[in-house]
Symmetry: C2
């Protein structure tokens, strides 16, 4: 049910509908849309501050420009809620029954006003340059505007700089809106922000201007949350015949006091109570907690441990570490490549860097994994989160991690099944200096257990139960699934299956694999990630020339966008019953 039948927004079906509104009406619209952002985010979670900050900018954009003839690309697109409300998708913000119908990111499948699926930062300038180049080549008579909106936080990502560099080569229309709210997810990091501050402080007049340095035209807008100002600014640059940077000062979280004050906490929120600001389902991540406690212990014991992350300290609970050990805490900003390369150097100089990465963002540092970390056999330690099959936006699908990391030489990619094992691995990883070690933090249930080794330089599989006929190798987060499959094999087929924790998705324990053949016919791998390039294929290749039957379970080579986990598990044949049925078929074929 539409919660706000009285809102002006009800009359807006296309962006052109706002062109006949008065300034007061447009301001009213901004107020309404702020309320809708808060209501939806409070109900189902989402980006708060980035959306509240760009209401005026977005309304002014659609008031002045003609979408989709003119094209706007929202960097990372987590600030596109207002754009969505004005482009035919308001129901996804007004009616709780339809909240889930509209994603939190731009989506060409939803609307002709969106041009790309985007969820990672720093891509918008390159995308806009490409669109402008194609326009100039194919439809030079169209003279449409191409606009990129990029936050100051996203500017530190190297791709944004590559985009700016090539934008300057254009001799045609391109408008790069730098939405400067003086924040990344957490605080901005690095020298760039000193320069941006000088530009703000001089009302854009400082002669030292990175954008002009690169040959781009430049204008400054001091108050991007003033609607008339933004309308005037966009009118001034509309149909410009060369690339220009419009540097707009906005306030993150604008219009909602808690979000204005607690900018990082309100960057993204899980469902929360609008009145109290409290999380509806507060979660303490037991793995994070244990890792932080271990780092603390290591520092206190004199280990040269440092913690490095790229703009996402809260994902790992690193704020506490930062408070306790500020000299050992490094946030490189949105700059994943730099986070790895600088860690390699710190390791070479005797520090023990622990890098904290989300799988989906670590993709941005693949060559740094290969060329800097693996090739140099650098004893960097890394904790990776989000390597899992999950109900996320496809833009943030983290299930590529095993292929991304375990197919590379020299790196040991460990997959603990419980918190004690994870800490045991972390201790060893920090202590050794022979190779890079990456640890895949479990994302599902917090389990406890007893590690079967404390030195992981040689991986010995933990054969938790010795059975026969069928051996289940359950990786990391799929440990419980492995136990359930064993139980059902017992109950349904009266098979006493062997249950193995392989601990690592890189090194294989040839000894154990060899001896399994003595009294097993089928080996089953269960991994919480993609099958292509995954652990299961390593096992399938090992047994390829033998009589052993191998069955691999995991995710197929596809993107899944906001699919509930239970649905995905069914699709991917990952329920215990489906797995047991598949095993049964193989056994019957023996």
């Amino acid at each position: 049910m539409n919660l706000h039948p009285d809102y002006l927004l009800n009359d807006v079906n296309e962006p052109s509908d706002i062109k006949r509104m008065s300034l007061d009406e447009l301001k009213e619209l901004a107020t309404e849309m702020r309320q809708l952002v808060l209501e939806r985010d409070a109900a189902i979670g989402g980006h708060v501050g980035p959306n509240l900050g760009v209401m005026e900018l977005t309304i002014a954009y659609h008031y002045v420009f003609n979408s989709p003839h003119d094209k706007v690309i929202w960097d990372v697109s987590h600030q596109s809620y207002a754009h969505k409300m004005l482009t035919g998708r308001k129901i996804g913000f007004m009616d709780p029954d339809h909240y889930e119908d509209i994603t939190g990111y731009t989506s060409p499948e939803e609307s002709v006003h969106d041009f790309f699926e985007i969820g990672h930062t720093s891509t918008s300038i390159s995308l806009a340059v490409g669109m402008a180049q194609a326009r100039d080549l194919l439809r030079p008579e169209k003279h449409n505007n191409i606009v990129a909106v990029i936050g100051d936080g996203s500017l530190s990502g190297g791709l944004a700089f590559e985009g700016l560099n090539n934008a300057a080569k254009l001799h045609s229309n391109l408008i790069i809106v730098v939405n400067d709210n003086q924040m990344a997810i957490d605080k901005d990091q690095g020298g760039l922000y000193q320069g941006l501050k000088e530009l703000r402080d001089s009302d854009g007049k400082s002669p030292n201007n990175i954008f002009k340095f690169m040959g781009l035209d430049y204008r400054y807008v001091a108050d991007g949350n003033d609607l008339q100002t933004m309308i005037d600014a966009f009118r001034d640059v509309k149909d410009i015949d060369h690339p220009i940077v419009l540097h707009v000062n906005t306030q993150k979280g604008k219009g909602f006091a808690p979000a204005e004050e607690h900018k990082m906490e309100y960057h993204w929120r899980d469902p929360f109570d609008l009145k109290t600001g409290e999380d509806k389902h507060p979660v303490v991540n037991g793995y994070n907690k244990a890792v932080m406690a271990e780092l603390d212990r290591q520092v206190n014991a004199g280990a040269p441990v440092v913690a490095i992350n790229a703009a996402i300290p809260d994902v790992f609970g690193l704020k506490e570490f930062q408070k306790k050990h500020p000299g050992r805490y490094f946030d490189v900003g949105i700059a994943e490549q730099d986070s790895i390369t600088t860690a390699v150097a710190m390791a070479s100089a005797g520090a023990r860097p622990v890098v904290f990465q989300n799988s989906t963002f670590l993709q941005r540092a693949y060559d740094q994994l290969i060329h800097d970390m693996a090739l140099n056999d650098s004893p960097v330690v890394m904790i990776v989160r989000g390597g899992t099959i999950a109900n996320t936006s496809a833009t943030h699908q983290g299930s590529f991690d095993i292929s991304m990391i375990s197919d590379l030489p020299n790196i040991e990619y460990l997959a603990p099944t419980n918190v004690e094992e994870m800490i045991s691995m972390l201790r060893w990883a920090i202590k050794q200096t022979d190779q890079p070690v990456v640890i895949r933090q479990p994302e599902k249930t917090l389990l406890h257990g007893q590690p079967s080794q404390d030195d992981y330089s040689t991986i010995n599989y933990d054969v938790v139960h010795h059975g026969s006929e069928v051996a289940i190798m359950a990786v990391g987060d799929f440990w419980q699934l492995g136990e359930e499959v064993c139980e059902q094999l017992k109950n349904k087929l009266n098979i006493d299956a062997t249950l193995i924790n392989p601990k690592s998705v890189t090194g294989i324990d040839q000894h154990d694999l060899h001896h399994l053949a003595e009294n097993h016919d089928v080996v089953v791998t269960l991994e919480d990630g993609n099958l292509s390039g995954g652990f299961g294929e390593t096992i399938a290749r090992y047994y390829g020339p033998t009589n052993m039957k191998v069955l691999n379970f995991g995710a197929p080579r596809e993107f899944a966008d906001n699919v509930p986990l239970e649905v995905m598990n069914e699709w991917y044949h990952l329920t215990p019953k489906q797995i047991v049925d598949d095993i049964e078929k193989v056994i019957h074929s023996l």
Copy 2:
């Protein structure tokens, strides 16, 4: 035999040995070392221009600083020859019998004066920042200098910018030498270079200064090829207590007229005749030639084709295309991420971008493959070279490509076995607009053949010979190997093996794979790349639950540094004889 027993360089065993030389002797040393660069490169190939340009810079560095107490990191390290000559490795440049003993890149295994294996650009600043951070944390009393030397061309790579951004956060010694020779491999690309030119033209005095914008101190050196000037410049910044950029103007190819004039041609040379400048073993790449002819044909037929590359036009013969169709040629500079993202945008706007990438550098755009190209199912066409097991530096090992690309959703990764098939695939790839298509250009022999399909939206394996018992699936460049294995199977074991060209390393032809089981016991995959995450594992997983035996051949999970191909083939069990022996063992176990 040392070709130059009379050289001053003979007396230099450690960098400290040059500290007692006079300016004239040091200049003589520069002349000698230039000659040695030329002689070695002419004999075995190597980087010419980058090394000739930094003789004075390198001598001055070692004259002023105290290596390895002070530490220099050479970006991409292809300009490190002089550094190597002065740090105990002169024999690798004076004695042709030892040319191959010393690699063309920095190597900690060779010398304590080298800190990292480096062969990709744009990493040096992040590495230097990491070393400085570790120094400040662990050994603040040491006060040693950390120096990064980065070329202007490498500055366009996003990681360099990420590094600069974080360098500004340091409150201690860091010297970033920007070696500005006004060239990347080819011409510099982008707005950054306009700004650098203004700095050079104003003798470093322009108030618009990207480095100062980012909070870094800055000095300019107008003639970096004047030894006294460089010595003075380094003395001035030695032991500085904060980060500084030393912007040094040098001439690429300095001291060898052909290299000064033809800067791109002399960036890197295969073995050549020093007198005439001619290649000793001139090669025409038949695949390049055919691809360029096809693009030409497409453009002339009105297709909206554009060609995109990241600073390596010569690898693909793109200069000819640029000349003919300048408006359709895009060199984004050293900015691989941007090359993919901008191509995605151009495809979305109706152009048909063909991106040209080296496998090893494409690693730098892995997230752009996933998040921009695959997720958006963007009909970008890409030609990848260097996806092969080859006698290269480990820094440039391109054999990760199948894991990197084929494990991703939506992308079709085609592996043609001959030139006609490659062009057939390219035609289809450009014509279709359903998905990203990457084509793996063969690197070994130029073969000819008749494609068995011209629409690759569904892959039908080409079963070139229908036999029984054993089926050989030979991928791309390993096609000839497949033929040889079949022949030896016939001769040695009297097996009439089936020979299959799978054409693609992503899609599998389930129909063919299913029917193979009717009269085959063993399927053998041959791929010219890494086994981990490769094509063979896909086949092993497919047959995992069945009676089919699968044998995968390819490269193990390791780096190989300048290993002759014949040696590697032996190591990796990739000779026809070894393969047949392995197959025989499996057959005997049946």
